[in-house]
Point group: C3
Chain length 164, copies 3
C-alpha cells in the first residue's frame, strides 16, 4: 500500500488498506457478490461513469447507487432477475495510491483492467479505467464511503452487470 | 501482501509472502525457467485447468505435475524438446490475497493476465484467470506446496508451453 | 514491495519504494505529466526499446533521454507541439521486484500492460513489457536514476507519445 509523497501513513494502516483492496477483489473474483455490499458504508456512493463525462463535468453516471441497500438490490438483481449470457469477469488491479487523508477519510486511486470470457470463447479485454475511492473507518473496520469507477471507453458495453 | 479480513498475519510474514510472489514472477518474466521448480516443495502439486472444470467438479487438468522433479522435466522439455514459434509471455499479477492460514499452510488467491507477443506482431491478451496457492515454510524458506492455475477460457490454446 | 530472495530490505525502505512506484503511476494515470520529470534524477537515463534489441545487444532505442531536462522537453512537446488523435493510456503495473542493492542504487524490475482508448472506441491492449529501474536516494528522496522500458512487441506503434 502506497502513500502519496509527503503523506506519512503508518505501516499498520497501509497494510489494512491493502487488505481492504485485496479482500474486495477476492470477493468479486470469487463471484461471492453477497459479500460485496459489506465493503461499503451504509450511505456509500458507488457510481460508474465514462472518463469523458468526468472531464466535461457531466454528472451522468451509468450506474449510480447511494446506499449499501441499493448495492444489495443490485446483487439480488444479478442473482435472480437479470438475463444475460454466462460470462466470467476477471479483475487485475494495480497498487492503490493513497492521495490524501483528511477528516472525511482517505482518498485513494487505483487503475484496473477487466477481462471478459464468454463460453467457448477466448478471453478479451472488457474495460479499463481508474477507481477513485474514499475510505473511512467505522468501529475499527475500513470501508468504502465512495467508489467512483471511471471507465476509459466512452461507449461502454451495456452489460455493466457485475460490480467493479 | 494481504490478509483476509480477520486474518492477522504479522508484517514480516506478509513481506516474505510478497517476496515469494515477486521473485516467482521475476524468474518467469526473465525467462529464467531453471529457477522455476525451486519455488515449489519436493511434492508440490502444480496444475492448470479451465474454470469450467472447477465449477463442475471435473478433475481433468491440462497440465498436471505432482513433484518438483516433474516441473524440472517440463523445463527441460521447454528448453530442448518442444518445437514452437518464438514468443514472449508477459505476466501481470494482481496483489495476492491471504485467504486462510492453517496447519497445512497458507492459502492465497491472485488474479493474473498473460500477454503474448509473436515475432513482428503486436502483443495480445493470451490468458487470464486466477491462481490458487498453498504456501508452506520449509527450513525458513517459503515455497508453493500447491499452485492451481484456473484459466477463464474453456478452449485454451494448445500452447501451454510456459510455466504460469 | 519485494526483495529478492536473500535481499534483506528493511520494511521502511520497501514502503518508500512502493510509494515511489505508486506516485509515479498516479501522476501518469492522472495525466499530470509536469510531475513526471520530478521522479528522475538530474542525469537520469530514460529509454524505451524493444525486447529484441535487448536480446541481440543492439543499443538502438526508440526513445532516449539522458537528463531530467530532456524529460521536461518531452512534456512540453506533448502539451504544445505534438499533433495526435486524443486518446487515453491506462497503466496496470505488477508489483516491482527488488533484484539488487549496491553502491550505485537499487535495481528493480516490474512488468506492465498499457491499454489505449481512442474516442468512441473500445479499449485495447496497447503495449506490454518490463521496466528495468535503478533507484537512488537524493537528499532523502528516492528517484529513478535509470528507467529502461523494454517493450515486448518489435514493431511498436509510432505513437510513443506518452511517458511510460
Amino acid at each position: 500500500m502506497i502513500a502519496a509523497p509527503g503523506l506519512d501513513a503508518p505501516v499498520e494502516l497501509r497494510l489494512r488498506l491493502a487488505d481492504l483492496y485485496a479482500a474486495y477483489d477476492d470477493a468479486l473474483d470469487e463471484r461471492e457478490w453477497e459479500r460485496w455490499p459489506e465493503f461499503f458504508t451504509e450511505n456509500a456512493i458507488y457510481k460508474i461513469l465514462p472518463c469523458e463525462n468526468v472531464e466535461q463535468g457531466l454528472p451522468a453516471a451509468m450506474v449510480y447507487c447511494e446506499s449499501r441497500a441499493m448495492l444489495r438490490d443490485r446483487v439480488v438483481a444479478l442473482r435472480d432477475a437479470l438475463v444475460f449470457a454466462p460470462r466470467l469477469i476477471r479483475r487485475v488491479v494495480g497498487a492503490p495510491c493513497l492521495r490524501q487523508a483528511g477528516l472525511d477519510g482517505m482518498r485513494l486511486g487505483a487503475s484496473f483492467a477487466l477481462f471478459e470470457t464468454m463460453l467457448n470463447e477466448p478471453s478479451t479485454l472488457f474495460l479499463c479505467g481508474r477507481l477513485y475511492d474514499r475510505v473511512v473507518e467505522e468501529e475499527g473496520v475500513l470501508r468504502f464511503a465512495e467508489r467512483i469507477v471511471v471507465i476509459d471507453a466512452t461507449n461502454v458495453p451495456l452489460s455493466l452487470i457485475f460490480p467493479i
